[in-house]
Each structure stands twice: as C-alpha cells, then as structure tokens.
Amino acid sequence: MVDLAIAEEQIAVQVSDLRIRGTVPDTELVRGVSFTLPRGGTLGIVGESGSGKTLTCAAVLGILPKQVERSSGTVEIFGRDTANFGKQEWVDVRGNIISAVFQDPGSYLNPSIRLGRQINEVLRVKKGLSRKQAKQETLRLLSAVHLRDPELVYDQYVHELSGGMLQRVVIAAAIAPGPKILIADEATTALDVTVQAEVLDLLTELKEREGLSLVVVSHDLAVVAQICDEVLVMRSGAVVEHGSTTEVLHSPQDDYTRLLISEHERYGLDRIIDSERLAVA
C-alpha cells in the first residue's frame, strides 16, 4: 500500500511543467501545463477538442495511451511524485485516492452484468467487504447519487437506464472506494441540459459532503463557471489562461478566452435570462 500522508497534506494534485509527447509521429501534445489543486478545491479545465485536456488528466491518473509518453514535468498526488509509481502503487492509488468519470457512461459499464453487481465488485476488491456488506454499501451509494429506487436499479442492466441515470451509477462506482480526488472529464457533455444541471449539483454536493477535490474538464466555459473556483484554459496543448473563475470571466487576458466568453454573450442565454421569472412562484 502506498504510504501517502494524506491526512496532513493540503495539496491534492500538483502538476508542474507537464509535457507529453506522441511518439508516432513525434509531436509535443501537451506543452508545459502546471496547476495546483488544493484539498477540497475545484479546478476547471476548458478547451476545444485536441487541446490536451484529456491527456493532462490521463497523465494525472497514470493512464496515458500507448504511443504517448510523459517527456518531462512532475505530477504529485498528495505530495507523492507519481513518476516512479509501479503497477501496484497505481492500483492502490486509483480508486482509493483518485478516481474519474468520463463522457459516455454506457461504455464504462458492462452491458451483460447487473448494475448493482458492478459497484459491488469495486467495493469487494478495493475495500475487501463481504457480499452482504457490499450490497448494503452499494444501495447506500445509489441513493447518495439520488437514484430514486436503488433496489430496482441494483438489479437493472445498462440498456434499461437513461444516460443521466447511468452517469449517476458511474459516479457511484467512482466514489465507492472513498477517493479524495475526482476527475470529471466531459462527464455531463452527452446529457440533456436539465440532466446536466442535476449531475453538476450532485458533484457539488459530493464535494461538500465527502470533501472531494474536483477536476472538471469541459469544452463549455459556462459549465466550468458553475462549479469551479479556478479555471485553466487550454489551446493546442498549452495553458493560455489560468486564474480564479471570477478573474478569468471578468478580465480575460487571452484572445481565445475572450472568444469563449463573447460566444456566450452573443449567442447564449446570458443576454436575456431573468431567473426570477423562471422559478416556481
């Protein structure tokens, strides 16, 4: 077991000058990304497709694809440099300390195994619970992510649930071993806006209740603005803007960030919305 002195450590993730190279063909994909995620903090990473958001997260999780490698820089999780982690150390860290959810929940679940059993498995392997304890804990988790009928969902299959419900199941599985850090990589992109809002609420709630530190990756600046304290804007593998959410939204320094903001101002709801008229009177 990796001995992480996580009880005292106040910085959850520290990435310094991370560079990632693709080996075929030889190109630099991520160019010098640095950020600090404090314990209990929320960091947003915004950028278009191919900007290196997902590769940065993959490097933090130690799951870079083949033909892609870290060429320099450091990634520290609760003060431990991950560069020298062996296979066993990663197994100990992933799930227990850092976990992730991705865009398409359906493809991360097995279509022929009942949903409850898939979360059960995580609990039995990672926490060594007995069958009975694991079932109880799974039901607790399913209700913690606000699935209305946990007993029913426990026995259902992937095809029986909507995208929003599946994303909740995946989030339940991700937080099952009690991680301290959760990476949500475009976790709400494939969902309808009304469902997206619910999942973002859930992430905020988990952050507050379980003390999770969150990394939220999205192509939509508005999504990140909803829940993050700090924003990182990436383009072509490099960070073009980094600051507190308010700072970035009110005085953007980079042209690309200005474009993201002006898109919302010109084509978005921001111009006309009036929340007082929307709520139930």
Binding site: E48, S49, G163, D192, V193, T194, V195, Q196, A197, E198, L200, D201, H219, D220, L221, A222, V223, A225, Q226, L249, Y256, L259, L260, I261, S262, E263, H264, E265, R266, Y267, G268, L269, D270, R271, I272, I273, D274, S275, R277, L278, A279, V280
Partner: protein, 293 residues
C-alpha cells in the same frame, strides 16, 4: 418592399402568407399493435419565408422525427404536411423521389464527417445534387459550386480536398453549401453546430445568419438553447412529442410560460450564474412530473 421587409425583420409578427412549411396536427407512431407508441402527438409547426425557426427539446423528444416526417422518412400516421404549398403527406414512392430530386427541401446533419462521402472531393460532393437533377453543363456546375462555396465562406482551394483533409467547421460549411446548391425553399438544420468547437461554432452561426433571405425558410433543430436563442426568430419547444410552447424566441427566453421551458432555461449554464439553483429546479421538476402523470 414593405412585406419582405417585415418578413425579414427579426422577431416581427408575420403576416398571414402561405408558409413554406405547414405541418398541421402531425402524428407519428412507431411499433406495431400493442407495442405501438406515439412519438409525435398533434404537432403544429409553420416556417415562413425569410424566417429562422427553432425547434428545441431534449434527446428523445421527437425533434429529428418531425424533420424526418417532413422529408417522408418517418411514417406520418395523421395530419397534413404542406411544403411550399404542395401537400406531401400521401406521396407515393416515386412522387417522393421526384420531390427530393427537385431539392425543394434540404437537410443538414449534425456530423459532416458522416454526411459527406469520405472518398469524394468536397467540390464533387457539393455539386452532386445538381448532377442528380441533371440538365446542367460542366461549366455551369463549376460556376455554381464556386458561387456556393463563396456564399458559405468556404475557400475555393478546399474544393479539391477530401473531407478528412479539412477542419470540422469547413466540413459543415461544405455540407451547408451542398444543401444550398439546389436553391431550396426550406432548409432543415439538425444540430448543425453541436459537433463543432466554440471558435468554429461562432463562424458557422454567423454564416447561417447571413443566409437569411426572403425566399428561404430555415428550421433550426437543436437541444442547445444557447444557439437557438442566438439565431432564431421564433421557437417551438418540444417535450415528449408535444409542442408545449411556441412563440418569439426572445419572449421564450425572457418569459417562458410552460414549466418545461422554465426548467430548460433555468438549467442552462450561463457565465453570469443566472440559472436557477438546485432546489428551484427540483420544484419545477416535481411540478412537471405532476403535470405529465
């Protein structure tokens, strides 16, 4: 001309002209016998010349099914659809083929990588509808392709490339150029910017706004209220196969009446954080469920 001016002015009240698309009391159902399920329930929808009309709803609400019904690709179980004054409900197979060949209605899909043939040059893809229609010389076709590319702001040099060799925004512009080349009366855009990055999305939306003319009507289908608010004059809100609200887009954005529209707008993330909070949305959702039970 006063009439066309009033038609093209954004958000204006339209005079009672014959709509380009006039769908009345449309019903579509899928499945057989006991498994038969209504997907579109008594939908009325009109698009006039010079208008950009939005159709918004969540996934599975029936947006694309309505578009497919207009094109004869989904079975219409009841109601009437008129396109440019011609009743299309009840067309036979050969009537549909003839109708589509004339290019009165054109359809632009979400993902241009899948709607453009990867082995055909962009220029040839754009000219294909004209070649299918027949009766044009090579020079005429070439001139039309160049003119169309200019209209959608697609560089002429890109016409000799394959879809895989140009960017997503350029591909979507090529797909729109192909739709425009037959000079259609009605263009149906099904999530045309959803697959694009922010920078390209702005360019395509601006280009779409520049297409507004007295002779064409655009039906803009999207789940994204942001782009719908940005470019449409009027909007229909679809929820579970029914139009629950319609009217001027601005009014829908500022004073939505139906609970679903309020929930939709209140759930959309904004930079200024003006959306509703979780508790307010839950209240709306409970009310919506009470309404649909």
């Amino acid at each position: 001309m006063a009439l066309t001016e009033s038609l093209t002015r954004r958000g204006s009240q339209l005079p009672d002209a014959t709509p380009l698309l006039d769908a009345r009391n449309i019903h579509v159902a899928f499945g057989k016998r006991r498994g038969r399920k209504p997907v579109i329930d008594a939908v009325d929808l009109q698009v006039h010349a010079g208008e950009i009309v939005g159709l918004i709803g969540e996934s599975g609400s029936g947006k694309t099914t309505i578009a497919r019904a207009v094109l004869g690709l989904a079975p219409v179980a009841g109601g009437q659809i008129h396109v440019a004054g011609e009743e299309v409900t009840g067309f036979s197979g050969s009537q549909w083929r003839d109708f589509r060949r004339r290019g009165v209605v054109q359809y632009v899909f979400q993902d241009p990588l899948r709607s453009l043939d990867p082995d055909v040059l962009i220029g040839d893809s754009i000219s294909e509808p004209l070649r299918i229609r027949g009766g044009f010389s090579k020079d005429e076709i070439k001139a039309a392709v160049c003119a169309q590319a200019a209209e959608v702001r697609l560089d002429e040099g890109l016409l000799d490339r394959f879809p895989g060799e140009i960017s997503g925004g350029q591909r979507q512009r090529a797909a729109i150029a192909r739709a425009l080349i037959t000079e259609p009366k009605l263009i149906i855009l099904d999530e045309p910017v959803s697959a694009l990055d922010a920078a390209t999305r702005v360019q395509v939306l601006e280009m779409l706004l520049s297409l507004r003319s007295d002779s064409v009507g655009l039906l803009y289908i999207s789940h994204d209220i942001g782009s719908v608010i940005g470019i449409t004059d009027r909007t229909y809100v679809l929820y579970r196969g029914k139009v629950v609200e319609h009217g001027s887009t601005r009014m829908l954005g500022t004073e939505p009446k139906h609970i679903y529209t309020r929930l939709l707008i209140g759930s959309t993330p904004t930079l200024t954080g003006k959306a509703l909070d979780g508790a307010q949305r839950r209240e709306l959702r409970d009310e919506l469920e009470a309404l649909t039970v």
